[in-house]
Symmetry: C2
Subunit: 403 residues, 2 copies
Amino acid sequence: MRILVLGGDGFCGWPTSLYLSERGHDVTIIDNLSRRKIDVELEVESLTPIRPIGERIRVWREVAKRDIGFVNLDLATEYDRLAALLAELRPDAIVHFAEQRAAPYSMSSPKAKRYTVDNNVRATHNLLTALVATGVDAAVVHLGTMGVYGYGWSGNAPIPEGYLTVKVQTPDGELEREILHPANPGSVYHLTKTLDQLLFSFYAKNDRLRITDLHQGIVWGTQTEQTSRDERLINRFDYDGQYGTVLNRFLMQAAIGHPLTVHGSGGQTRAFIHIRDTVRCIEIALQNPPESGSRPRVLNQMTETHRVLDLAKLVSGVMGADIAYLPNPRIEADENDLLVRNDQFLALGLQPTTLSEGLLEEGSKIAARYRRRADPTKIVARAVWRDSMEKADDLLTELPPES
Amino acid sequence: MRILVLGGDGFCGWPTSLYLSERGHDVTIIDNLSRRKIDVELEVESLTPIRPIGERIRVWREVAKRDIGFVNLDLATEYDRLAALLAELRPDAIVHFAEQRAAPYSMSSPKAKRYTVDNNVRATHNLLTALVATGVDAAVVHLGTMGVYGYGWSGNAPIPEGYLTVKVQTPDGELEREILHPANPGSVYHLTKTLDQLLFSFYAKNDRLRITDLHQGIVWGTQTEQTSRDERLINRFDYDGQYGTVLNRFLMQAAIGHPLTVHGSGGQTRAFIHIRDTVRCIEIALQNPPESGSRPRVLNQMTETHRVLDLAKLVSGVMGADIAYLPNPRIEADENDLLVRNDQFLALGLQPTTLSEGLLEEGSKIAARYRRRADPTKIVARAVWRDSMEKADDLLTELPPES
């Protein structure tokens, strides 16, 4: 397949691009390098030393004897170039990762809120408009988030895959309807993925676009088989308070002797997936698009659920680290159960990579190896999500000496 | 109250501004005059000769001895000026009409689709962000649309006001939940109002903004008590295939001897409201905002429902005109029933102005008076909503001689 990977330089996009390339697909990355530029703005870097995109692609050519294309293009503002590119390449499929993806960043300032909404909505809508305008019938696979559902909404019922069956009272009795699961986003970032869902539903109905929305859990792990083949192919590892996701943050914190930072009681249950499964899921989704004329296909891209505090205890037990309880910026229940259906990916052949000490060790080795690249003042989340929110102090401002 | 009217130069915004001004409120209009500029782009004009905004405001001062402020500002692109203005004026309430509001226009080209989404989402989100950033606790009243619900979704159950009670099956039995009514927009324009709803829900939850969303039916009528006080205060009357709404279009078509253009079978039932009730509803909504911390208040702003064909027959009967059946660009049932709840406005004191021959006559007089200003080639809707859609020919390219 000829595949465009929008946002192919990012944490999920890069390993996905390599995986699809190795599997024989003809991959072109479209990226405006915004993730790297936000690092510059935040004065922080990936813990792992990621190489410039041009070098990454050259090394991949050396290592795998496969070409990956690259176009530096801002989807949100360069519609005409996007449409021209679609008309020229006429891809069979498009993977759309090209959105600002950190909840704390999306809440950190009026500018960041506006950037997140403007960038994400326009990137998605420009893509859909350009597909219609060019008549390119590519299967679109978009990375959504489990956060569109909110948590604790449906009692002890498992979260279904995108659509919820409900009963509605009418004068003639009860009517059964399948609806898009009600949205309950916890941040402006998550909000944008709920907006995307409505865009997808409309363009699937009006223009018969074939769209799959993958509601992904929190990704953990860093490397895939492909990214670990050469150090210059290494994937991002974000440890900072804005972009670092919970399990990777814990591994990094333990590696430098920082307390593991839990927000609230840690009683929140979340869905997880390993980065190796992310890349597999993307290919499965690409190979199983919905039919033209059907509603978007929604799959939950996660393999297991864990309580945040249990993860902290696990990492703390294996690696020896304290746990620090910080204020929870989200408006949500302090504790929730979470059951999630992921029947579709299992039926389509996904073999889940679940949490194990062996895999944790891989992450902690990466964290230990690059610990000197960390800035300890960037670890604690400091974004103010709303008026008069409690903020946490730094817990460590200097790295401990090398052991 | 100190009230900002965003989009206060438009078809609903102008009469609302005058009404609120006459009722003793301190009104400032914020508008970038985009509606007038779209007229320039489409090479069409309001049938009624509307005056420049500066003149409108001067005449109102002469006639009513009341001052209305005006700031030319683009909400979607001038965030900093908006935030500064909020901080300076600290309004008690904000009426938000400032969105591209024509469904056919929103479907007419990639550029128009993108403009509609970019403009409407950013205008709304910039407003919400600026309110949070400045700490201005203004009640926000937004003009939504009945079109967010779609038509025919809930069988013969009346459309509730924003929220729908549903039952969800769980392992412990059925759970009752009140959810935002599922969205089923028929055009990119309507889609943007469904996006707005999610923005409102989030900012009401996270930042305790007080927001009312008014899902308005199709407005008919032209003048209010205030706009008819001087010809230079006259309201817009759009008759063209993109911005003309159905009942006003019929009146205009009858006035110039053009067949009444019905899309599809005309079996679609729609909700209606007279412009005089629109302005009253806005004031009622301003005076009854939700409490800080509650979900957005949603009211259906309509007073009656009619089948499109019945309206065509009514106008045809009164004024003598043929009916022409054109292709329906919308993906929707050819026929639908429509029951709509509007209990909240009735309970808050609205006295509905319902369809009557007397009021139709007022509209037909306006149409007849200004008929020479019409361009007959602009009457038929020609926007292509999707690939290979059937298009209609002009039915009249020259005005008949004066009778």
